[in-house]
């Protein structure tokens, strides 16, 4: 289990419902109990700390050394400003965080389990967690961006429920995506354009060639 959620506040609990079916554990009192190499922490955040309840929990330049040689994704407000940078400098392999407030919207007409607005707000986060655990920060950032675009198709459905709420959700998922920051010790493996061209052109040439061959066969018969 790699996902840890702080259960001491209603907003985080509600957010937890948005991604909780991934499987999670409660954020432990002692951060050293989180033994996994890749961690996802959903909690309240401030620029230099992530919180457990009202008490300071993991603070930059203090105990963020616990993430040394680990990869961590903070789903919390403002942690991309100082905490992520400090954690990375202390030896974390990869860090992913949000440099501004992480915003989302719910509607009290629905229970959190059935809230369509909550689901769409956390759709990019769910996809990012999957990519982060599987492939690391660079792929996770791409997944977040892609899922933000995918979420636009759900916005139209939300608009049928309430247009203003859909507008707010639309702006929030863009906002959260724009504020995602990543630090990684692994370089991004970009595929050169010439390789992309090769990948695209070769199948087209092969199919054209096979069509010509088919026609020639028809003529010779």
């Amino acid at each position: 289990m790699n996902l840890y959620i702080d259960l001491s506040d209603k907003d985080v609990k509600v957010a937890g419902v948005g991604i909780g079916d991934i499987g999670w554990k409660e954020l432990p009192v002692n951060p050293l109990e989180m033994k996994e190499d890749k961690l996802v922490i959903l909690s309240h955040g401030e620029i230099d700390r992530i919180k457990r309840g009202y008490y300071d929990y993991i603070v930059s330049c203090f105990n963020d050394i616990i993430f040394k040689d680990k990869s961590v994704y903070f789903i919390a407000c403002d942690t991309g400003k100082i905490l992520a940078d400090s954690t990375f400098k202390k030896g974390a392999k990869e860090v992913l965080a949000y440099k501004q407030k992480f915003l989302f919207l719910t509607d009290e007409r629905y229970s959190p389990e059935n809230d369509p607005f909550l689901k769409v707000c956390f759709y990019p986060v769910r996809k990012t967690i999957e990519a982060f655990l599987k492939n690391g920060v660079n792929e996770a950032i791409k997944a977040h961006k892609l899922a933000t675009e995918e979420a636009k198709s759900f916005i139209d459905e939300l608009a049928k429920v309430n247009e203003s709420e859909a507008m707010v959700v639309d702006s929030f998922i863009d906002w959260n995506n724009d504020n995602l920051v990543g630090f990684s010790k692994f370089a991004v493996a970009e595929i050169p354009e010439i390789v992309w061209a090769f990948i695209i052109v070769v199948p087209v040439l092969l199919s054209t060639f096979s069509q010509i061959l088919e026609k020639l066969r028809g003529v010779t018969k």
Partner: protein, 114 residues
């Protein structure tokens, strides 16, 4: 088709369905989306004529920044009472950031106008 009508049509085509409904024009105490603006311009209603006049003269409504901020607040005013805006932090109210997020979105919409 007038120049303004073409401009609005092209703008409309670049927007997602929900972006088309966001408040953009403020005329005589009321907000109009790009979709509504296009309808009024196409049918040459008094509002449409006002929009044509504004677009031709390049009139800046309220001052651009102020208008975008007011448009963001208008979206929040339209929220139902059951809507709850939340953030993953304890201490400060997030109204400022919420307005910023909406302003950013509205600016992106305006950029698509070209």
């Amino acid at each position: 088709m007038s120049e303004v009508e073409t401009k609005l049509y092209n703008w409309l085509m670049k927007l997602t369905p929900i972006e088309r409904k966001m408040p953009v024009y403020y005329i005589a105490g009321k907000w109009y989306s790009v979709e509504e603006a296009y309808f009024h311009v196409k049918n040459r209603t008094p509002i449409g004529m006002k929009i044509i006049e504004m677009e031709q003269k390049g009139v800046r409504q309220l001052g651009e920044d102020k208008r975008i901020e007011e448009a963001a607040k208008e979206i929040l005013r339209r929220l139902p009472p059951t809507a709850r805006i939340r953030a993953l932090q304890y201490t400060k109210p997030v109204r400022e950031e919420v307005i910023e997020a909406l302003k950013k979105k509205l600016k992106k919409i305006e950029e698509k106008k070209g």
